[in-house]
């Protein structure tokens, strides 16, 4: 089940009614309604997935009990933390990376002349496993760091890890931020309903209005994401490859930010506040700024649980660069079990390291509006170009795309070209930034916009647009594969 499925409004209505119709004093029962709904939501894909998430929950809960037990000594608590984190990473490794490493190992053997062709154990990738494993790790580590009290009630740990609005594609919610919300008295109010509606509406437009309609321009160039090995990049003109890469930059933003906004909106309808996951990343003026705006929950998770654990910037300049690089490399691998993702992460890691290096040498920096403009252009061109390995099927395709960007590719025999309207995709991103960051948002806070007739009229207009965009066959979200 996904947010744009026809079944989802029915599911949501039932869960909403069951949750809020329970008297406020039955706080725990309300949480159980959400837990049950989360199980149904996740089991809708495949009931077997429930067993895996059950194991992840049990490990996190058990490890948390020991990691936070102050009667134990530090070593024992550290050992429990390590065990819990390692077990979760092992699960992630088996379900997400086993096939990748096994296939890569066989390729390597074949490369050195050893004929190896064993049938790899094909393991299915459970939806959202990367997201909830990271949440489980966040719980264990937060308990160990004593940012969170030990939680003895496994049902609460289960709800934190499996909370359906953000279960399958984030945002990755921190345990220290979520558990206190379970404790407090959540009340239904018009404020949370309307703010949830606003988030959901924006997310809906992102996904159904933009992302799903940009995909038909990207998929023919880079290949159908569901069919491996069907890309035909070489047939397309240079301008088409550049256009398709820009369009993919727009698609993945609208798709993922759309899901995040909808998740925030749905969570808010149940009284939970989930932090924003995107903050107009294509307006960023440096690569570090980009990662403060793009997939914020992942980048901050990587910073707090990986980069800092590796030593962060506390062990000298060189080590800082290495840590930045390693963190992004692993961040790339987190996105998918393929070398293209590793390269994507490595390039971002290298860019962050270079940016850090330049920051240390102020003479290379240009300030003011000009500096910001140059930074904006350079950052976005880099980000867009580096989407190529994220989306392309293989490095051969990536090299062709990069050659198209630089004009080094001869496309005189290319027979296919995209229509000019593909450029409406990046234009939509620009307009989204203008709507979100200009005085337009101030207009929404003005007295006139709070007039009931205008507000409800606008809701009617939005509903008319949303129905026209309503997908009778919902397209999956891009980030579900991660």
């Amino acid at each position: 089940m996904i947010f744009t499925d026809a079944i989802f409004p029915i599911f949501l209505t039932l869960v909403f009614a069951a949750h809020w119709l329970l008297p406020a004093k039955f706080k725990e029962a309300r949480l159980m309604v959400l837990l049950g709904a989360s199980a149904i939501f996740y089991g809708w894909w495949d009931v077997r997935f429930l067993a895996l998430i059950g194991v992840v929950i049990a490990i996190a809960w058990g490890a948390g009990l020991y990691a936070g037990d102050k009667s134990l000594d530090e070593k024992q608590r550290n050992r429990a933390t390590m065990l819990g984190v390692t077990a979760n990473l092992l699960i992630l490794g088996v379900f997400k990376y086993f096939n990748f490493f096994a296939d890569s190992f066989i390729d390597l053997l074949n490369l050195v002349g050893v004929n190896a062709n064993p049938s790899t154990l094909k393991i299915i990738l459970p939806v959202g496993v990367s997201f909830y494993i990271f949440q489980a790790i966040s719980f264990i580590v937060d308990v160990r760091r004593e940012e969170l009290a030990v939680e003895t009630r496994i049902r609460r740990v289960a709800l934190y890890i499996a909370f359906f609005p953000q279960l399958v594609a984030g945002p990755i919610v921190r345990a220290a931020g979520f558990f206190p919300q379970m404790e407090k008295d959540r009340k239904l109010s018009s404020e949370i309903m309307l703010s949830g509606l606003r988030f959901f509406a924006i997310g809906w437009v992102y996904k159904a209005g933009f992302a799903d309609n940009i995909a038909p321009f990207v998929d023919p160039v880079f290949g159908n994401p569901m069919v491996a090995g069907d890309s035909d990049v070489s047939n397309w003109t240079n301008l088409s490859l550049v256009g398709a890469t820009f369009a993919f930059g727009a698609q993945i933003y609208f798709d993922f930010a759309g899901y995040s906004m909808m998740a925030i909106g749905v969570a808010r309808w149940f009284g939970f506040f989930i932090p924003r996951n995107f903050d107009f990343p294509y307006l960023s003026t440096s690569i570090a700024d980009f990662w403060r705006r793009w997939h914020i929950s992942l980048s901050s998770w990587l910073r707090d649980y990986l980069y800092i654990s590796l030593g962060g910037n506390r062990a000298g300049k060189l080590r800082t660069y290495v840590n930045l690089f390693a963190t992004m490399l692993l961040g790339g691998l987190w996105h998918g079990a393929a070398w293209t993702f590793v390269i994507w992460g490595a390039l971002h890691g290298a860019a962050l390291a270079v940016h850090r290096l330049l920051l240390g040498n102020k003479k290379y920096l240009i300030g003011g509006v000009l500096g910001a403009a140059i930074g904006l252009v350079l950052t976005q061109v880099f980000v867009i170009m580096v989407w190529a390995p994220f989306r392309a099927e293989n490095m051969g395709d990536v090299l062709q795309v990069w050659a198209a960007f630089t004009g080094l590719r001869d496309s005189s025999e290319a027979v296919k070209s995209l229509e000019w309207i593909v450029w409406l995709a990046p234009l939509a991103v620009i307009l989204d930034g203008i709507l979100g960051k200009s005085g337009f948002t101030k207009l929404s806070r003005s007295t006139i916009m709070r007039h009931p007739a205008l507000f409800w009229g606008a809701c009617g207009v939005f509903m008319g647009c949303a129905l026209a965009f309503f997908p009778l066959q919902a397209a999956p979200f891009v980030y579900f594969q991660f």
Binding site: S190, E191, L194, S195, L197, R198, A201, I202, W204, V205, Y206, A208, G209, F210, D212, N213, I214, P216, F217, I421, V422, L424, A425, L427, A428, L431, D432, L435, G436, F440, T441, L443, S444, R445, M449, R450, H451, P452, A453, L454, F455, W456, G457, A458, C459, G460, V461, F462, M463, G464, C465, A466, L467, A468, F469, F470, P471, L472, Q473
Partner: protein
């Protein structure tokens, strides 16, 4: 992304960004404002879709687009066959063209048929063809099959809540379905109630453009596909004895009229065709194993449609040739059967002077 999607997407995004908690008011104002906004946006989106030639794409559109291309590519007069699955499986239009030309007719036959298509859906495809084709067909052959006459909301039998059902159930189609239901063109009381409920829902979904932008495209972008769909393996086993016994049964002709709504519908359709410059209109039905279904067309041809050229498939010569394992199921022919029927149809067209 198509311009219309971009424009409406930006509009929706702007509206969503502006949404903030309103001041309190009585209940009437929100309801009236919401409904007003919804209706205005629905009308504007429908208008914009027309302006940009943007529409839901159904299977029929693929066939219509192909038919238009075939028409444009050939100066010959067109003989258009409009039907449902029986026709889609039974009329090999390439072969029929060849046979007609061997008999001295310059016509190009075009099969424009889709399985499970109601009279309304077929008419929508026909009007689309007439609107976009470079010239009107010389002759149009319209299929008359019992089940479609007897169910004015046939679409709900095959494709509820699909793009196809929502697309065809516009105000005009709903009126025809309503006329049919009032006259009993539905199966039983519960069936009639279901049709009324589904009709209301689909008309609403159509009026509110549900799914129009998510699944639509410009007509010029629609992939072109020929309708003729030869089948090679039966989907329902029948013994030869069963087939022979059923085909031997030829019921006597009793001149009759179709249901009132279907008669009116056909009269309306003939008006459209005449206005479009179609020279002649004929009726036909491909063969079925079931004698009752064959007899229906024969009876309507002898009654309601007696003034028109009409070719029911109840000719013993044809039925004798069909007495073998050439049936996809009791109502549809396999490719071998289609060849037999197509040859017979060419002879019959010649014999009845349908193209003269």
């Amino acid at each position: 992304m198509p311009v219309i999607l971009f424009l409406i997407g930006i509009l929706a995004l702007g509206v969503a960004v502006l949404m903030r908690a309103p001041r309190k008011s009585n209940a009437f104002l929100p309801i009236a404002s919401f409904t007003g906004g919804l209706i205005v946006s629905a009308i504007c989106i429908a208008g914009a879709a027309r302006l940009f030639d943007f529409q839901r794409t159904t299977d029929f559109d693929h066939f219509t687009a192909n038919s238009i291309e075939v028409t444009a590519a050939d100066d010959a007069p067109i003989a258009l066959f409009l039907g449902a699955s029986l026709s889609r499986n039974a009329i090999d239009d390439e072969r029929l063209t060849q046979l007609l030309r061997e008999k001295g007719y310059p016509h190009r036959a075009i099969n424009l048929s889709l399985e499970g298509s109601s009279l309304q859906e077929r008419n929508k495809a026909l009007l689309e063809y007439l609107k976009r084709a470079p010239r009107a067909p010389d002759v149009v052959f319209l299929s008359v099959v019992q089940e479609f006459d007897e169910l004015s909301a046939y679409v709900f039998k095959v494709a509820k809540f699909s793009d196809r059902a929502i697309d065809q159930f516009d105000r005009e189609a709903a009126e025809w379905a309503g006329l049919g239901i009032v006259g009993g063109a539905c199966y039983g009381t519960i069936g009639c109630i279901k049709d009324i409920v589904f009709g209301g829902i689909h008309l609403t979904l159509n009026s509110l453009n549900v799914g129009l932008l998510s699944s639509g495209e410009r007509f010029s972008d629609v992939e072109k596909k020929p309708a003729y769909d030869p089948q090679t393996k039966p989907r329902q086993e029948q013994t030869l004895d069963e087939i022979v016994e059923a085909l031997d049964e030829v019921l006597p002709t009793e001149a009759t009229n179709g249901p009132h709504w279907a008669m009116s519908f056909r009269a309306m359709q003939r008006g459209h065709l005449k206005d479009a410059g179609v020279r002649r209109i004929s009726y036909y039905a491909p063969p079925t194993v079931d004698a009752g279904i064959r007899a229906y067309t024969q009876n309507v041809c002898a009654g309601e449609l007696v003034k028109f050229n009409c070719i029911p498939a109840n000719d013993p010569i044809l039925l004798d040739q069909l007495k073998s394992q050439i049936w996809f199921d009791p109502e549809h022919l396999l490719a071998d059967g289609a060849q037999i029927y197509t040859s017979w149809l060419a002879d019959k067209i010649d014999e009845t002077g349908a193209l003269k």
